[in-house]
Symmetry: C2
Subunit: 386 residues, 2 copies
């Protein structure tokens, strides 16, 4: 399975702010950044940080991409971030990239968090901060648990955001177009008390990061898990026979929007059982896109930013193979642990698995993967807040 190259701008392009004024190099005390993943988001972070004057190392799993980037050692950014950015270190060795970094920004499909954490484990040292951009549901938990399993003794903070800072696209290695930079995004950490320090550290470069009290918030605020897998599944026929359609305006029909609303009710119920007031998908659309309506269908029909976003042309899409195992699966597992039924989520996981010939319930972020197996609801709450 190849890594998809296109940013999901659908949920990440609004609200944005205009071009950012470039500052001069900051003092030697400024944090050193490692960027893990040289896709759209990773190259945007690398270019942006370099242009802001920070020390940046950049890693990618694809040998060809690393070599292409090494050829010039630079990334040309255009759009909301502009300039020719020199990258201090470009490498295919994740330990080399991570060593000595104060902040390790992980910007890869969430399904690779686990294997990537295992790969960087030997290089980690006390005081480093890993930030998953974004974590989807249970990203920080999975990475923390993976590092423990890998025998990491260093005191490392693992944080996750609820979305990506940029709406961006990299047409080729060494070039990024940044369509927009978000006004704000949320970050939370494990241990939870470190959230404010992580935000403060990131704020040296990016004022947009705001700390939330626990990863419960960032992990439950997974809008992609609501609007991607179910509509993709319920449009599987036209996707597989390559009949083009507008993903939101034609793909999320009134009945399909109701299915999404049922998924969302299950998500909110999980939040309540864990003592967290999670925002509904309706609230998300009101706040992020300024659209209102009698129901989700009406709201989505009004989102201007969705115009022109086509449905996937292949069932092997991140809308399924990413948003099911790192979205619906951990949500369903959390629900199960706190006695909240999630029949709609479970049905989407089951049929998505069946469609792709996978077993997402086993492959995905189970409680075991999150390090929460066998815990009572109260123990889970404490594990997330601790």
């Amino acid at each position: 399975m190849g890594r998809a190259e296109r940013c999901d701008s659908s949920l990440q392009d609004c609200p944005v702010r205009g071009p950012i004024a470039m500052e001069g190099a900051t003092s030697m005390k400024s944090p050193r950044f490692a960027i893990v993943g040289a896709g759209n988001g990773g190259q945007s972070f690398a270019a942006h940080l370099s242009l802001l004057g920070f020390s940046v190392s950049l890693w990618d799993v694809e040998k060809e991409k690393v070599e292409a980037l090494q050829r010039t050692g630079r990334i040309a950014a255009s759009g909301s971030v502009q300039g020719e950015a020199k990258i201090d270190l470009i490498t295919g060795d994740i330990c080399e990239a991570s060593r000595g970094a104060d902040v390790i920004m992980v910007v890869i499909p969430t399904v690779y968090h686990r294997s990537t954490a295992t790969a960087m484990a030997p290089a980690l040292t006390d005081g480093q901060v890993i930030v998953l951009n974004p974590g989807a549901t249970g990203g920080a938990l999975e990475v923390r648990n993976t590092l423990r399993e890998a025998g990491v003794r260093a005191s490392v903070v693992v944080a996750e955001t609820d979305t990506l800072l940029y709406a961006c696209r990299s047409p080729r290695a060494g070039e990024v177009i940044v369509y927009g930079v978000k006004d704000h995004l949320d970050v939370a950490a494990l241990p939870a008390a470190e959230g404010s320090k992580v935000a403060a550290l990131l704020n040296v470069a990016f004022p947009q990061f705001k700390a939330l009290p626990s990863v419960l918030f960032t992990s439950l605020n997974n809008a992609n898990a609501m609007v991607h897998p179910a509509p993709t599944l319920l449009n599987a026929g036209r996707i597989e026979c390559k009949a083009p359609f507008e993903y939101y305006s034609e793909g999320v029909t009134p009945s399909i929007a109701r299915v999404v609303e049922k998924l969302d009710e299950e998500r909110l119920a999980i939040g309540r059982a864990l003592g967290v007031e999670v925002s509904s998908i309706h609230h998300f659309y009101r706040m992020s896109y300024g659209v209102d309506g009698a129901n989700l269908y009406e709201q989505i029909q009004k989102v201007r930013a969705y115009e022109g976003i086509k449905g996937p042309t292949n069932l092997n899409t991140r809308y399924l193979f990413e948003d099911i195992p790192t979205g619906l699966v951990p949500l369903s597992c959390l629900g199960n642990a706190v006695d909240v039924n999630t029949p709609t989520m479970d049905a989407v996981v089951e049929l998505g698995s069946s469609l792709l010939g996978r077993d997402f319930s086993a492959e995905g972020r189970t409680l075991d993967r999150l390090g929460l197996a066998g815990m009572s609801p109260e123990e889970i709450r404490r594990a997330l807040i601790a």
Copy 2:
């Protein structure tokens, strides 16, 4: 919800035989038929039986249709069955239609079996035979249980077929076009030992009916439950936004065919657990349509009879609201009773319910509705064979 008027010719039009020679009136000893339901199939049965010389009464739930039929008292048949058939009694009173009939042919959407059985209960007398054309999964069980609940003391045999005798269409009340008459179809009865007698009785008019040893066979041979709900669900988007597509050649894509194969594996496992060797969907396509292939997708692509069959233009389709509650729901409930997991069936039931805002698990043919609640696998086997 209106009753769909179109025969599902997709599974019922092959193999067929040519026009049937009309015989003269048979002796007074010949069975009297009541036809319950004046849709496509019901009018075809009524016309055919009348033309064969049998006494026929015809009932329908729709007042306007009954009045239209009463105006001439006749049905004009064309195609494989030809002639102007005089119907002895056309009535909107189901008890009047049923009273004195030797055979009550029920030819209505299977979701109305229960309410219709309740309505005819007061008129039933010893020795009558009710035949559900077809029964889908659990039709005879549901009707027998409904009659018991209605306090029927008369000794009535309840039988079910696995399909409809005709491929037919009624463009308007009093007119039927019979595209084909099947060479053979299966019938089984409750009590099981009565199956041969039922077949013999029907054979007086129709040599095509063959007795099977128990309703387990007819009820588990539900191809519609395999090929209708899941592909409809997985094409929900294009159906609801009215993007036309060929139901089989474009709607049953390779991945969707794999989902159908998973449903079928669950169905076969239920059969094995109940001690019955059920034919696979692959076998069904080989036998009914003479098509073979490496998998179901390849087989379906070769079915000539499917050419031109369009997908539903509305989610309120019998492919969902009939084949889920009288197909997948009783199959899943039987599976549950005999410890066979049916995750794919359950997922389709759940998402189908969610899409239509229904609760098919509660509305459908549960074990309670089938009169099998609380029984052990062995007791269920005996209840079906007894």
